[in-house]
Symmetry: C2
Subunit: 209 residues, 2 copies
DNA sequence: TAGATTGTTAATCGATTAACAATC
DNA sequence: TAGATTGTTAATCGATTAACAATC
Protein backbone atom coordinates (compact mmCIF):
# COMPACT_ATOMS: atom_id res chain seq x y z
CA UNK A 1 0.00 0.00 0.00
CA UNK A 2 1.31 3.37 -0.99
CA UNK A 3 0.89 6.35 1.31
CA UNK A 4 0.29 9.62 -0.49
CA UNK A 5 2.48 12.57 0.34
CA UNK A 6 -0.55 14.64 1.35
CA UNK A 7 -1.46 11.99 3.83
CA UNK A 8 1.92 12.16 5.57
CA UNK A 9 1.69 15.94 5.64
CA UNK A 10 -1.67 15.70 7.34
CA UNK A 11 -0.13 13.36 9.87
CA UNK A 12 2.29 16.14 10.80
CA UNK A 13 -0.64 18.51 11.09
CA UNK A 14 -2.56 16.13 13.35
CA UNK A 15 0.52 15.89 15.52
CA UNK A 16 0.71 19.67 15.87
CA UNK A 17 -2.98 19.90 16.66
CA UNK A 18 -2.65 17.15 19.25
CA UNK A 19 0.23 18.97 20.92
CA UNK A 20 -2.05 21.95 21.39
CA UNK A 21 -4.93 19.85 22.72
CA UNK A 22 -2.57 18.16 25.14
CA UNK A 23 -1.31 21.50 26.38
CA UNK A 24 -4.89 22.60 26.94
CA UNK A 25 -5.41 19.57 29.14
CA UNK A 26 -7.69 17.52 26.92
CA UNK A 27 -7.43 13.76 27.09
CA UNK A 28 -9.81 12.58 24.33
CA UNK A 29 -10.62 13.86 20.86
CA UNK A 30 -13.13 13.00 18.10
CA UNK A 31 -12.33 12.80 14.41
CA UNK A 32 -14.64 15.75 14.05
CA UNK A 33 -12.56 17.95 16.34
CA UNK A 34 -9.31 17.10 14.63
CA UNK A 35 -10.93 17.70 11.26
CA UNK A 36 -11.94 21.22 12.30
CA UNK A 37 -8.49 21.98 13.66
CA UNK A 38 -6.71 21.27 10.41
CA UNK A 39 -9.56 22.09 8.00
CA UNK A 40 -10.36 18.70 6.55
CA UNK A 41 -13.40 16.40 6.80
CA UNK A 42 -13.84 13.89 9.59
CA UNK A 43 -13.94 11.15 6.93
CA UNK A 44 -10.48 12.21 5.89
CA UNK A 45 -9.20 11.96 9.45
CA UNK A 46 -10.60 8.47 10.00
CA UNK A 47 -9.44 7.34 6.58
CA UNK A 48 -5.91 8.61 7.25
CA UNK A 49 -5.79 6.84 10.60
CA UNK A 50 -7.05 3.59 9.14
CA UNK A 51 -4.33 3.73 6.47
CA UNK A 52 -1.75 3.79 9.24
CA UNK A 53 -3.58 1.20 11.33
CA UNK A 54 -4.51 3.69 14.04
CA UNK A 55 -7.79 2.92 15.73
CA UNK A 56 -9.89 4.67 18.32
CA UNK A 57 -12.89 3.85 20.40
CA UNK A 58 -16.25 3.56 18.69
CA UNK A 59 -17.90 5.59 21.33
CA UNK A 60 -15.27 7.78 22.87
CA UNK A 61 -13.12 8.90 19.96
CA UNK A 62 -9.36 8.78 20.40
CA UNK A 63 -7.17 8.96 23.47
CA UNK A 64 -4.96 11.98 22.77
CA UNK A 65 -1.88 10.67 24.51
CA UNK A 66 -2.05 7.32 22.70
CA UNK A 67 -2.83 8.87 19.35
CA UNK A 68 -0.01 11.36 19.75
CA UNK A 69 2.46 8.61 20.52
CA UNK A 70 1.33 6.48 17.60
CA UNK A 71 1.63 9.35 15.14
CA UNK A 72 5.00 10.36 16.53
CA UNK A 73 6.22 6.82 16.10
CA UNK A 74 5.05 6.70 12.49
CA UNK A 75 6.76 10.01 11.78
CA UNK A 76 9.93 8.78 13.45
CA UNK A 77 9.70 11.45 16.10
CA UNK A 78 10.51 9.10 18.94
CA UNK A 79 14.16 9.21 17.94
CA UNK A 80 16.54 12.13 17.40
CA UNK A 81 17.37 12.89 13.79
CA UNK A 82 20.83 14.19 13.00
CA UNK A 83 20.95 16.26 9.86
CA UNK A 84 23.29 18.57 7.99
CA UNK A 85 22.75 21.68 5.91
CA UNK A 86 24.76 22.52 2.82
CA UNK A 87 24.84 26.24 2.06
CA UNK A 88 25.43 28.86 4.76
CA UNK A 89 23.56 31.66 3.00
CA UNK A 90 20.64 33.47 4.56
CA UNK A 91 18.23 30.56 4.34
CA UNK A 92 20.80 28.05 5.53
CA UNK A 93 21.65 30.17 8.55
CA UNK A 94 18.01 30.78 9.32
CA UNK A 95 17.36 27.02 9.39
CA UNK A 96 20.48 26.50 11.48
CA UNK A 97 18.90 28.63 14.21
CA UNK A 98 15.34 27.47 13.66
CA UNK A 99 13.86 26.89 17.11
CA UNK A 100 11.17 24.49 15.91
CA UNK A 101 13.79 21.97 14.84
CA UNK A 102 15.24 21.76 18.33
CA UNK A 103 11.80 21.30 19.86
CA UNK A 104 11.02 18.54 17.41
CA UNK A 105 14.11 16.45 17.99
CA UNK A 106 15.86 17.50 14.81
CA UNK A 107 19.54 18.18 15.46
CA UNK A 108 21.62 20.05 12.95
CA UNK A 109 25.11 18.65 13.31
CA UNK A 110 26.95 20.87 10.84
CA UNK A 111 26.52 23.39 8.06
CA UNK A 112 28.77 23.30 5.00
CA UNK A 113 29.83 26.08 2.68
CA UNK A 114 32.37 26.55 -0.10
CA UNK A 115 33.23 30.09 0.99
CA UNK A 116 36.29 29.99 3.31
CA UNK A 117 35.13 33.24 4.94
CA UNK A 118 32.07 31.47 6.34
CA UNK A 119 33.92 28.60 8.02
CA UNK A 120 33.58 28.56 11.80
CA UNK A 121 34.63 25.41 13.61
CA UNK A 122 34.05 26.88 17.08
CA UNK A 123 30.38 27.64 16.63
CA UNK A 124 27.96 25.40 18.55
CA UNK A 125 26.86 24.16 15.14
CA UNK A 126 30.14 24.15 13.17
CA UNK A 127 30.28 25.65 9.70
CA UNK A 128 32.69 23.50 7.71
CA UNK A 129 34.18 23.53 4.20
CA UNK A 130 32.26 21.48 1.63
CA UNK A 131 35.41 19.44 1.10
CA UNK A 132 34.77 17.77 4.42
CA UNK A 133 31.18 16.90 3.56
CA UNK A 134 31.66 13.26 2.63
CA UNK A 135 33.91 12.48 5.56
CA UNK A 136 31.51 14.07 8.02
CA UNK A 137 28.41 12.35 6.64
CA UNK A 138 30.09 8.99 6.77
CA UNK A 139 31.70 9.44 10.19
CA UNK A 140 28.47 10.69 11.78
CA UNK A 141 26.24 8.37 9.76
CA UNK A 142 24.04 11.28 8.67
CA UNK A 143 21.06 10.17 6.60
CA UNK A 144 19.25 13.43 5.94
CA UNK A 145 20.44 16.72 4.50
CA UNK A 146 19.09 20.12 3.55
CA UNK A 147 20.27 21.93 0.42
CA UNK A 148 20.27 25.72 0.57
CA UNK A 149 22.94 26.47 -2.03
CA UNK A 150 22.35 28.52 -5.19
CA UNK A 151 20.62 26.88 -8.12
CA UNK A 152 23.78 26.28 -10.14
CA UNK A 153 25.59 24.21 -7.53
CA UNK A 154 22.61 22.30 -6.17
CA UNK A 155 22.95 19.26 -8.43
CA UNK A 156 26.66 18.91 -7.65
CA UNK A 157 25.95 19.14 -3.94
CA UNK A 158 23.20 16.53 -4.20
CA UNK A 159 25.52 14.14 -6.02
CA UNK A 160 28.14 14.53 -3.31
CA UNK A 161 25.60 14.03 -0.54
CA UNK A 162 24.26 10.86 -2.09
CA UNK A 163 27.73 9.55 -2.79
CA UNK A 164 28.43 9.96 0.93
CA UNK A 165 25.33 8.05 1.96
CA UNK A 166 22.54 10.61 2.41
CA UNK A 167 19.10 9.06 1.83
CA UNK A 168 16.69 11.97 2.19
CA UNK A 169 16.98 15.57 1.07
CA UNK A 170 15.00 18.74 1.62
CA UNK A 171 15.92 21.00 -1.28
CA UNK A 172 15.44 24.77 -1.31
CA UNK A 173 17.25 25.39 -4.62
CA UNK A 174 14.75 26.27 -7.37
CA UNK A 175 15.82 23.48 -9.67
CA UNK A 176 14.52 20.09 -10.77
CA UNK A 177 17.13 17.76 -9.30
CA UNK A 178 17.86 14.41 -10.87
CA UNK A 179 16.08 11.48 -9.25
CA UNK A 180 18.01 8.63 -7.71
CA UNK A 181 16.50 5.25 -6.87
CA UNK A 182 15.87 4.89 -3.18
CA UNK A 183 16.57 8.55 -2.43
CA UNK A 184 13.83 10.90 -1.23
CA UNK A 185 13.93 14.47 -2.47
CA UNK A 186 11.38 16.99 -1.26
CA UNK A 187 11.46 20.45 -2.80
CA UNK A 188 10.53 23.73 -1.17
CA UNK A 189 10.45 26.60 -3.62
CA UNK A 190 9.68 29.83 -1.83
CA UNK A 191 9.57 32.04 -4.90
CA UNK A 192 7.13 29.64 -6.55
CA UNK A 193 4.89 29.72 -3.48
CA UNK A 194 4.88 33.49 -3.54
CA UNK A 195 4.08 33.53 -7.25
CA UNK A 196 1.14 31.32 -6.41
CA UNK A 197 -0.11 33.93 -3.96
CA UNK A 198 0.39 36.67 -6.53
CA UNK A 199 -1.47 34.71 -9.20
CA UNK A 200 -4.54 34.02 -7.09
CA UNK A 201 -4.56 37.51 -5.62
CA UNK A 202 -4.70 39.16 -9.02
CA UNK A 203 -7.19 36.57 -10.30
CA UNK A 204 -9.47 37.33 -7.38
CA UNK A 205 -9.16 41.06 -8.04
CA UNK A 206 -10.07 40.60 -11.68
CA UNK A 207 -13.12 38.55 -10.75
CA UNK A 208 -14.42 41.40 -8.62
CA UNK A 209 -14.32 43.85 -11.53
CA UNK B 1 -13.24 27.19 -14.95
CA UNK B 2 -11.16 26.68 -11.88
CA UNK B 3 -7.39 26.50 -12.10
CA UNK B 4 -5.83 24.01 -9.72
CA UNK B 5 -3.00 25.14 -7.49
CA UNK B 6 -0.69 22.50 -8.92
CA UNK B 7 -1.29 23.90 -12.32
CA UNK B 8 -0.20 27.41 -11.30
CA UNK B 9 2.88 25.95 -9.64
CA UNK B 10 3.79 24.19 -12.85
CA UNK B 11 3.40 27.48 -14.67
CA UNK B 12 6.12 28.90 -12.43
CA UNK B 13 8.27 25.89 -13.22
CA UNK B 14 7.75 26.29 -16.97
CA UNK B 15 8.78 29.91 -16.61
CA UNK B 16 12.02 28.92 -14.86
CA UNK B 17 12.76 26.28 -17.47
CA UNK B 18 12.11 28.77 -20.26
CA UNK B 19 14.50 31.27 -18.68
CA UNK B 20 17.23 28.64 -18.90
CA UNK B 21 16.41 27.73 -22.50
CA UNK B 22 16.45 31.39 -23.46
CA UNK B 23 19.84 31.84 -21.84
CA UNK B 24 21.13 28.88 -23.81
CA UNK B 25 20.04 30.62 -27.02
CA UNK B 26 17.10 28.41 -27.97
CA UNK B 27 14.17 30.00 -29.76
CA UNK B 28 11.65 27.16 -30.01
CA UNK B 29 10.60 24.34 -27.69
CA UNK B 30 8.30 21.29 -27.89
CA UNK B 31 5.91 20.17 -25.14
CA UNK B 32 8.12 17.12 -24.90
CA UNK B 33 11.21 19.16 -24.01
CA UNK B 34 9.44 21.20 -21.37
CA UNK B 35 7.94 18.03 -19.92
CA UNK B 36 11.40 16.52 -19.49
CA UNK B 37 12.74 19.69 -17.88
CA UNK B 38 10.19 19.73 -15.10
CA UNK B 39 9.48 15.98 -14.89
CA UNK B 40 5.89 15.82 -16.11
CA UNK B 41 4.27 14.32 -19.22
CA UNK B 42 3.93 16.21 -22.48
CA UNK B 43 0.16 15.77 -22.20
CA UNK B 44 0.31 17.65 -18.94
CA UNK B 45 2.21 20.52 -20.55
CA UNK B 46 -0.23 20.88 -23.43
CA UNK B 47 -3.20 20.50 -21.12
CA UNK B 48 -1.87 23.22 -18.81
CA UNK B 49 -1.27 25.57 -21.71
CA UNK B 50 -4.72 24.98 -23.13
CA UNK B 51 -6.28 25.79 -19.73
CA UNK B 52 -4.61 29.20 -19.92
CA UNK B 53 -5.39 29.68 -23.60
CA UNK B 54 -1.77 29.39 -24.65
CA UNK B 55 -1.32 27.87 -28.08
CA UNK B 56 1.69 26.84 -30.11
CA UNK B 57 2.35 25.77 -33.64
CA UNK B 58 1.16 22.34 -34.72
CA UNK B 59 4.39 21.60 -36.39
CA UNK B 60 7.04 23.71 -34.73
CA UNK B 61 6.14 23.63 -31.05
CA UNK B 62 6.22 26.89 -29.11
CA UNK B 63 8.16 30.09 -29.64
CA UNK B 64 10.10 30.47 -26.42
CA UNK B 65 10.04 34.25 -26.30
CA UNK B 66 6.29 34.37 -26.88
CA UNK B 67 5.53 31.55 -24.46
CA UNK B 68 7.71 33.14 -21.82
CA UNK B 69 5.91 36.45 -22.16
CA UNK B 70 2.49 34.86 -22.02
CA UNK B 71 3.30 32.87 -18.89
CA UNK B 72 4.88 35.89 -17.25
CA UNK B 73 1.77 37.88 -17.97
CA UNK B 74 -0.47 35.22 -16.45
CA UNK B 75 1.71 35.08 -13.36
CA UNK B 76 1.68 38.85 -13.13
CA UNK B 77 5.41 39.04 -13.62
CA UNK B 78 5.21 41.92 -16.08
CA UNK B 79 4.63 44.28 -13.17
CA UNK B 80 6.56 44.92 -9.97
CA UNK B 81 4.99 43.54 -6.82
CA UNK B 82 5.46 45.46 -3.59
CA UNK B 83 5.24 43.29 -0.54
CA UNK B 84 5.91 43.43 3.18
CA UNK B 85 7.16 40.91 5.70
CA UNK B 86 5.93 40.70 9.28
CA UNK B 87 8.44 39.09 11.60
CA UNK B 88 12.14 39.99 11.55
CA UNK B 89 13.37 36.69 12.91
CA UNK B 90 15.81 34.48 11.06
CA UNK B 91 13.42 33.45 8.33
CA UNK B 92 12.07 36.97 7.88
CA UNK B 93 15.55 38.39 7.54
CA UNK B 94 16.59 35.63 5.15
CA UNK B 95 13.64 36.46 2.88
CA UNK B 96 14.40 40.16 3.19
CA UNK B 97 17.76 39.50 1.56
CA UNK B 98 16.60 36.77 -0.80
CA UNK B 99 18.24 37.52 -4.16
CA UNK B 100 15.67 35.62 -6.20
CA UNK B 101 12.94 38.05 -5.18
CA UNK B 102 14.85 41.00 -6.62
CA UNK B 103 15.48 39.18 -9.88
CA UNK B 104 11.81 38.30 -10.16
CA UNK B 105 10.41 41.78 -9.69
CA UNK B 106 9.31 41.23 -6.11
CA UNK B 107 10.17 44.25 -3.98
CA UNK B 108 10.12 44.03 -0.23
CA UNK B 109 9.12 47.47 0.97
CA UNK B 110 9.38 46.97 4.71
CA UNK B 111 9.73 44.39 7.45
CA UNK B 112 7.77 44.70 10.69
CA UNK B 113 8.57 43.43 14.15
CA UNK B 114 7.22 43.93 17.66
CA UNK B 115 10.69 43.91 19.23
CA UNK B 116 11.93 47.54 19.57
CA UNK B 117 15.53 46.29 19.44
CA UNK B 118 15.03 45.15 15.84
CA UNK B 119 13.69 48.44 14.49
CA UNK B 120 15.93 50.05 11.88
CA UNK B 121 14.48 52.88 9.82
CA UNK B 122 17.74 53.62 8.02
CA UNK B 123 18.18 50.19 6.46
CA UNK B 124 17.62 49.99 2.70
CA UNK B 125 14.59 47.88 3.58
CA UNK B 126 13.33 49.51 6.78
CA UNK B 127 12.43 47.40 9.80
CA UNK B 128 9.46 49.08 11.45
CA UNK B 129 7.34 48.53 14.56
CA UNK B 130 4.21 46.45 14.01
CA UNK B 131 2.19 49.43 15.26
CA UNK B 132 2.88 51.14 11.94
CA UNK B 133 1.74 48.14 9.90
CA UNK B 134 -1.74 49.34 8.98
CA UNK B 135 -0.66 52.85 8.12
CA UNK B 136 2.15 51.56 5.89
CA UNK B 137 0.02 49.00 4.06
CA UNK B 138 -2.63 51.59 3.33
CA UNK B 139 -0.26 54.41 2.37
CA UNK B 140 1.77 52.18 0.05
CA UNK B 141 -1.24 50.20 -1.15
CA UNK B 142 0.47 46.90 -0.37
CA UNK B 143 -1.58 43.88 -1.41
CA UNK B 144 0.67 40.99 -0.48
CA UNK B 145 2.41 40.08 2.75
CA UNK B 146 4.59 37.37 4.22
CA UNK B 147 4.11 36.14 7.78
CA UNK B 148 7.24 34.90 9.56
CA UNK B 149 6.21 35.49 13.16
CA UNK B 150 5.96 32.76 15.80
CA UNK B 151 2.94 30.50 15.82
CA UNK B 152 1.17 32.24 18.69
CA UNK B 153 1.04 35.69 17.12
CA UNK B 154 0.38 34.63 13.52
CA UNK B 155 -3.41 34.84 13.67
CA UNK B 156 -3.31 38.30 15.22
CA UNK B 157 -0.87 39.51 12.59
CA UNK B 158 -3.04 38.07 9.82
CA UNK B 159 -6.11 39.86 11.18
CA UNK B 160 -4.23 43.14 11.24
CA UNK B 161 -2.90 42.66 7.72
CA UNK B 162 -6.34 41.92 6.32
CA UNK B 163 -7.87 44.80 8.22
CA UNK B 164 -5.34 47.05 6.51
CA UNK B 165 -6.15 45.74 3.04
CA UNK B 166 -3.79 42.85 2.35
CA UNK B 167 -5.30 40.36 -0.12
CA UNK B 168 -2.70 37.61 -0.38
CA UNK B 169 -0.49 36.04 2.27
CA UNK B 170 2.41 33.63 2.30
CA UNK B 171 2.45 32.17 5.78
CA UNK B 172 5.47 30.46 7.36
CA UNK B 173 3.92 30.04 10.82
CA UNK B 174 3.03 26.40 11.50
CA UNK B 175 -0.61 27.10 12.21
CA UNK B 176 -3.93 26.68 10.46
CA UNK B 177 -4.98 30.30 9.96
CA UNK B 178 -8.64 31.27 9.75
CA UNK B 179 -9.95 31.67 6.22
CA UNK B 180 -11.35 34.94 5.01
CA UNK B 181 -13.53 35.32 1.91
CA UNK B 182 -11.57 36.78 -0.97
CA UNK B 183 -8.22 36.42 0.79
CA UNK B 184 -5.54 34.02 -0.45
CA UNK B 185 -3.43 32.24 2.13
CA UNK B 186 -0.64 29.94 1.07
CA UNK B 187 1.20 28.03 3.78
CA UNK B 188 4.83 26.97 3.80
CA UNK B 189 5.65 24.71 6.72
CA UNK B 190 9.33 23.85 6.71
CA UNK B 191 9.25 21.49 9.67
CA UNK B 192 6.39 19.56 8.08
CA UNK B 193 8.35 19.26 4.83
CA UNK B 194 11.34 17.92 6.72
CA UNK B 195 9.14 15.44 8.59
CA UNK B 196 7.95 14.26 5.22
CA UNK B 197 11.54 13.55 4.19
CA UNK B 198 12.17 11.75 7.48
CA UNK B 199 9.05 9.63 7.08
CA UNK B 200 9.84 8.45 3.57
CA UNK B 201 13.51 7.94 4.34
CA UNK B 202 12.79 5.58 7.20
CA UNK B 203 10.00 3.87 5.24
CA UNK B 204 12.42 3.22 2.42
CA UNK B 205 15.00 1.86 4.84
CA UNK B 206 12.46 -0.51 6.35
CA UNK B 207 11.47 -1.77 2.92
CA UNK B 208 15.07 -2.72 2.19
CA UNK B 209 15.30 -4.93 5.24
C1' DT C 1 3.38 15.11 -49.59
C1' DA C 2 4.99 12.60 -45.39
C1' DG C 3 6.14 13.21 -40.85
C1' DA C 4 5.75 15.35 -36.58
C1' DT C 5 3.49 17.93 -33.12
C1' DT C 6 -0.35 20.26 -31.23
C1' DG C 7 -4.97 20.63 -29.01
C1' DT C 8 -8.66 18.23 -27.13
C1' DT C 9 -11.53 14.43 -25.88
C1' DA C 10 -12.06 10.24 -23.51
C1' DA C 11 -10.07 6.95 -20.30
C1' DT C 12 -7.68 6.22 -16.29
C1' DC C 13 -6.01 6.88 -12.01
C1' DG C 14 -5.98 8.47 -7.35
C1' DA C 15 -7.66 11.08 -3.62
C1' DT C 16 -11.56 12.78 -1.04
C1' DT C 17 -16.12 12.44 0.71
C1' DA C 18 -20.56 10.34 1.86
C1' DA C 19 -22.95 6.88 3.90
C1' DC C 20 -23.90 3.46 7.03
C1' DA C 21 -23.31 -0.96 9.51
C1' DA C 22 -20.86 -2.18 13.54
C1' DT C 23 -20.40 -1.26 18.20
C1' DC C 24 -19.16 1.01 22.50
C1' DT D 1 -30.96 0.63 25.89
C1' DA D 2 -30.49 4.81 22.92
C1' DG D 3 -27.36 7.71 21.00
C1' DA D 4 -23.06 8.74 19.14
C1' DT D 5 -18.88 7.72 16.90
C1' DT D 6 -15.80 4.76 14.54
C1' DG D 7 -14.06 2.04 10.57
C1' DT D 8 -14.76 0.84 6.01
C1' DT D 9 -16.98 0.44 1.63
C1' DA D 10 -18.89 2.64 -2.24
C1' DA D 11 -19.63 6.95 -4.69
C1' DT D 12 -17.86 11.08 -6.18
C1' DC D 13 -14.79 14.29 -7.53
C1' DG D 14 -10.73 16.02 -9.66
C1' DA D 15 -6.35 15.61 -11.78
C1' DT D 16 -3.34 13.17 -14.92
C1' DT D 17 -2.50 10.51 -18.95
C1' DA D 18 -3.39 8.27 -23.37
C1' DA D 19 -4.90 8.58 -27.78
C1' DC D 20 -5.75 10.52 -32.00
C1' DA D 21 -7.80 13.76 -35.37
C1' DA D 22 -6.42 18.12 -37.03
C1' DT D 23 -2.88 20.45 -39.27
C1' DC D 24 1.47 22.80 -40.12
Amino acid sequence: MNIAKNCVSRLSSYKNALTKLKNLGFTRVFSDNLADLISVTSSQVRKDFSLFGISGNRKGGYNIEELFNQINHILGKDIVHNIIIVGAGYIGKALMKYKTFEKEGIKIRAVFDSDPAKINRESSIPILPVKELKEFIQAQRIKIGIITVPENSAQLVLDQMIDAGIQGVLNFAPINLKEYPGIIINNVNIELELENVIYYTQTMENNKK
